[in-house]
Structures are given as structure tokens and as C-alpha cells.
């Protein structure tokens, strides 16, 4: 499980995250939603350790992550970054194998077991046929699946995803989120995923946290967080929230500004 306690992050002198606290249990998907600039990416980057935090703690079962080296941390947390440009000359296979870094020596030579894990990860994201392709030739959706495979290779109990569906079409959005949910419910991972699509969050997340202006305004089950008053205040837009006609989840419908 992942415990984020009173996390505060600055960019220079500007505070972008105030005292954010969140719990992600093993076996659940927690969706982080909020308007642009709310601090979702910042929170994920701070938890994964690439930006420093001003105050607060990030823990798992008692271990404080700040006390760990990057290598040790990488055995606990794997991150799927937002659509990034990958160095085009590397193949998919080479890229995914890099996910085994926390378990390799400094020479980076993979064993048979590492290669098996990489193969299985690629298979799980349905990208095994892409293995010999160069990363520069992939489409956005394929690239995102490769990044997810690499994160799976890291064999970590915690998975962070930063808006992984941002540039994907409907088919890939659904298949990626279904896989993410399976990783939590079936494999027992603690998954924290930043999403901009509220309805996808409602459908695939067990719990949702709403981040606005660097503060967690609400967290809980989808119907507790996706309330008209909270959403309108966060997005400065009138919305209607109805019950989804075919399932038990809320459906957020934006109204036009008058």
C-alpha cells in the first residue's frame, strides 16, 4: 500500500502542493482527478522521487521512501509517465528490459528470468508483436503500452500512472484501463492513476481523489466525489451528474456556460 502524508511541493518559491494526504490500498485503483494545473503530475512526480518535497512523507508499510536510494525505491514504485518522447533508436524489447534495472547489476546484463518477465509483460499489454520495432516508429497508443509493459517488468507493489490515456483513442483507453484495473484487483497492486476524464475515472477507479489548486478537496467513492457542487467548484463549469443508465456509477455531463 501507498501512504502519502501531508505532502508539500514548491516550484521555486511557489507552493504547488499543499499538505496533500492520500492512501492507496493494495488491490485498489485510486484515480486522481482535477483541472489542469491542479498538481496531479506534480504529486505523481514527487511520490516517484524525481522532484524534491518541501515537507511530508511517502511511505509503504512503514518504510519511508525518502530514506531509500533510487534503486531501492524503484523496487517499490513503477511509474508510467505522461506521453513522453522516447529515444527513437531503441527497440521495444530493449526499452521494456530496462524495467528490470532495479534487479540488475551495473552492467545491466539480463538473465533468462528477466527476459521471461519482459516477454510476459509485453504479452499482457498485447505488444509482443512489436518487440523488434524501433520505438520511434510506434504510434502514441503503442508507445503507451510499451511504457506500461516496462513498468510491469519492474515487478513493484505500487504503480503510478500520469494521464496515460491522454492521447489514446477510445479502444486503447478502454483496454489500458481494463488492464490497470486487473493489475489492482487480480494482482494486488496499489494503483494511483491521474486521469482527466471524469467518467473513465468513475468507471474504472475504486476511489477518487479531487485535487484543486494543490489541495485535496475530496476523496472517497466515485458517487461521493463526483457531486455537482464539488465538480462545479473545481472546474468552474456547471455540470449535471446523473446515474449511468446501465451501471451503478455516476455520469458527469457538462452544461454550457451561460
Amino acid at each position: 500500500m501507498l501512504k502519502i502524508e501531508s505532502l508539500s511541493v514548491n516550484y521555486g518559491s511557489r507552493r504547488v502542493l499543499h499538505d496533500a494526504s492520500l492512501d492507496v490500498q493494495s488491490g485498489e485503483v485510486l484515480a486522481l482527478i482535477g483541472p489542469n494545473g491542479a498538481g496531479k503530475s506534480t504529486l505523481i512526480r514527487a511520490v516517484s522521487g524525481v522532484i524534491p518535497m518541501q515537507s511530508g512523507h511517502v511511505r509503504t508499510n512503514g518504510d519511508d521512501f525518502n530514506a531509500l536510494s533510487p534503486m531501492q525505491r524503484a523496487r517499490y514504485i513503477a511509474t508510467v509517465p505522461q506521453a513522453v518522447s522516447l529515444p527513437p533508436a531503441y527497440t521495444v524489447w530493449e526499452t521494456v528490459l530496462l524495467g528490470r534495472t532495479p534487479y540488475l547489476n551495473f552492467l545491466g546484463q539480463p538473465s533468462q528470468k528477466d527476459e521471461d518477465l519482459a516477454r510476459r509483460a509485453l504479452d499482457r499489454v498485447s505488444a509482443l508483436t512489436l518487440a523488434e520495432r524501433r520505438v520511434g516508429e510506434l504510434s502514441g497508443g503503442e508507445g503507451q503500452r510499451v511504457l506500461l509493459a516496462r513498468a510491469l517488468c519492474q515487478s513493484t507493489p505500487i504503480l503510478l500512472l500520469d494521464e496515460p490515456t491522454a492521447h489514446l483513442d477510445l479502444q486503447y483507453q478502454v483496454s489500458l484501463l481494463e488492464l490497470v484495473r486487473e493489475l489492482a484487483h487480480h494482482d494486488g497492486l496499489a494503483v494511483l492513476i491521474a486521469l482527466h476524464d471524469l467518467n473513465l475515472a468513475a468507471k474504472y477507479a475504486d476511489r477518487i481523489a479531487l485535487l484543486v489548486g494543490g489541495e485535496i478537496k475530496a476523496s472517497g467513492k466515485p458517487e461521493q466525489v463526483l457531486r455537482p457542487d464539488l465538480i462545479e467548484a473545481a472546474y468552474c463549469l456547471p455540470v449535471r451528474v446523473i446515474k449511468h443508465p446501465f451501471s451503478d456509477i455516476p455520469l458527469v455531463l457538462p452544461e454550457s456556460r451561460k
Binding site: 516517484s48 524525481v50 524534491p52 534503486m71 524503484a74 529515444p87 524495467g99 534495472t101 552492467l107
Partner: protein, 331 residues
């Protein structure tokens, strides 16, 4: 076959080494070379081989290894195909140090003769230290800052060097000769002086291939995958700069090798740094040996500075390799 690249590169190196030892004012055939090496040859050929040819060949080979290995490392470190070992000021610092030392009349003793290379070496390392400190922001060293600080400081050092050269007209030709590069000051002392730094620096780089692969994905991803990014970058910078400074101190500033050889290796053998760095090191030696042979032969008995040959011959060769490359995404 996985080792095809190494086999080919090593064969080319052995060929270049043999040619370098054979060619000169007295041509030594491979048989004579072998005889002299094993102690069976004539007195003259042994003298030529051991006092002149071997140290010069060794110096050229080591210089080529250092420049090419560091070039590959810098290109990976800065994720920039235009990076070469002189990017953050090693060359300009060394040049400044050498020219300052040249304005002093040193005694004709061992230390007197070592004064210029030593000044160049120290000045080169000082430059990297200054540039690194200027570029540092808190606990990290952003690559853009390094490049900008390096370029700015290089311009400063180069202008100062030119100014000093203008003021002491007697030394200009000598300084220019040094700056253009060449193994004019060779001998076993030179080899012994630079060998430790070279082996430390290149040794570190050879084992850093995996870290360099990770860095290609950006600092964030590299860190998230478990690499201590700041520590890795610092070590790589120190290792490359050590090797380059040592090479430049005795061979002057030989351009093009450090920039082009890694690219040719990438085009032929791929972008994996675990292989790219060793292959660049081996082939850098080959490339510089061949350039030096050309430099000695073309206008014999006069020697052209090697730096001129590397650019004049290297550029067309590289363009030819580039045109023949079918795969687009080699970088």
C-alpha cells in the same frame, strides 16, 4: 553473431597498428616488425621500432581511444548528436594552459619539457570544474546549463588564447602547431604520464553503458527506473574529462574524431551504449592511426598536423557512410 562488431573493429585496429609501425622514413615490413618485437631483428630496426615508432603509435592510438570514447559518452550524456569531447571546455582550457606555458622559457630538463603538457592538463580539468560549478542548480546539474556554461567559457578561453598568441608573435607558429594537434612530443614518458588517467577514465566509461542507455530516456525516467542520475552524470563527466584532458595535453586539439567515430559506430552497430562505448574506443584508435599515417605520408618528409587530416579526410568519409545508411532512426 553477437561479437561480429568487436571482431571486425579489432581486426581493423590490428591492421592500422601494423601499418602505423611499418610506415615511416624507413619502411619496416611485417616480418621485420615481428623480428624486432621478439628481439631477433637488426639493431637499427629495433631502435626505430622501440624508440620512435612504438611510442608514437601508442600515443596516437591512446589519443584516438580517449577522444572517441569521451565523444560517445558526451553524446549520450547530453543527448545531443553534436556533442564532442570539447563541448564543455576541455579543449579551450587546455589550449589556454598550453599557450600560457609557452610564454615562459622553461629549462631543458625533464620537468621543463613536461611543463607545457602539464599546464594543458591542469588547465583542462580546471575548466571543467569551473563550468560544472557554474552550471549547478542546487543539487542537480541541468544539461542545458552545462552546455551553455561550457560554450560561454570556451569562447572566453579561446579569445584569451588568441589574444596571448597575437601578443607574442615569436611563439604563434609553435602555439598554432600545438593547437592543431599532432604527436610531435611523443616518447615513452608521454605514454606513462597519460596512461593512468586514460585507463581510469576509459575504464569507467566502458562499464557505464547501461547507465547511459537509461539516461537516453531523460532524467525523470532514468531516476524512476532506479538510476541515481546526478551521481551517474557526475561520474561520467569526470571520467570523460580526465581521458580527454590527458589526451589533449600531449596531442593537442584533434577535432572530428570524437564527434564522428561514435556516429559511424551507431550507424553500423546500433545505439546500445554497452556496445557503442567499447566499439568507439577501439575504432577511435583505428581512425586516428589511419589519419596519422596519412599525415606522415602525404607531404613526406614534412608532417601535416593530424587535426587537419582528421577533418579533411574524415568529413567525406563520414558523409559517405551517412548517405549509405538505409535506416533512418539511428540516433
Amino acid at each position: 553473431m553477437k561479437f561480429r562488431s568487436y571482431l571486425f573493429s579489432l581486426l581493423a585496429l590490428v591492421l592500422a597498428l601494423t601499418l602505423s609501425l611499418a610506415i615511416g622514413s624507413v619502411f619496416l615490413s611485417p616480418l621485420e616488425l615481428w623480428a624486432a618485437l621478439t628481439g631477433h631483428g637488426t639493431q637499427t630496426s629495433a631502435a626505430i621500432l622501440w624508440s620512435i615508432r612504438l611510442p608514437r603509435t601508442a600515443l596516437i592510438a591512446l589519443t584516438g581511444m580517449a577522444l572517441s570514447g569521451s565523444g560517445a559518452a558526451y553524446q549520450g550524456l547530453f543527448r545531443n548528436p553534436l556533442a564532442d569531447p570539447f563541448l564543455i571546455g576541455v579543449a579551450s582550457g587546455a589550449g589556454l594552459g598550453a599557450v600560457i606555458a609557452m610564454s615562459v622559457k622553461w629549462p631543458y630538463t625533464f620537468w621543463g619539457l613536461m611543463a607545457i603538457p602539464m599546464s594543458a592538463f591542469v588547465a583542462a580539468l580546471l575548466t571543467v570544474l569551473i563550468v560544472y560549478s557554474l552550471a549547478r542548480v542546487g543539487k542537480t546539474v541541468p544539461t542545458t546549463n552545462l552546455i551553455l556554461a561550457g560554450v560561454a567559457f570556451s569562447s572566453f578561453a579561446t579569445s584569451l588564447t588568441s589574444f596571448l598568441m597575437l601578443r607574442s608573435t615569436g611563439e604563434v607558429r609553435r602555439a598554432l602547431g600545438w593547437l592543431l594537434g599532432g604527436a610531435s612530443q611523443s616518447g615513452w614518458t608521454a605514454i606513462l604520464a597519460i596512461a593512468p588517467y586514460l585507463f581510469i577514465g576509459l575504464g569507467i566509461l566502458i562499464f557505464s553503458g547501461h547507465a547511459m542507455n537509461l539516461l537516453q530516456f531523460g532524467d525523470d525516467q532514468a531516476q524512476q527506473l532506479g538510476l541515481n542520475v546526478t551521481r551517474a552524470k557526475t561520474i561520467l563527466l569526470i571520467a570523460s574529462s580526465l581521458a580527454t584532458a590527458a589526451a589533449v595535453a600531449f596531442s593537442g586539439i584533434i577535432g572530428f574524431v570524437g564527434l564522428i567515430v561514435p556516429h559511424i559506430m551507431r550507424l553500423w552497430w546500433g545505439a546500445d551504449y554497452r556496445r557503442l562505448i567499447p566499439l568507439s574506443i577501439i575504432s577511435g584508435a583505428t581512425a586516428l592511426l589511419i589519419s596519422d599515417i596519412i599525415a606522415r605520408v602525404v607531404l613526406a618528409p614534412q608532417e601535416i598536423p593530424v587535426g587537419i587530416v582528421t577533418a579533411l579526410a574524415g568529413a567525406p568519409f563520414f558523409l559517405w557512410v551517412l548517405r549509405r545508411a538505409k535506416n533512418q532512426g539511428y540516433w
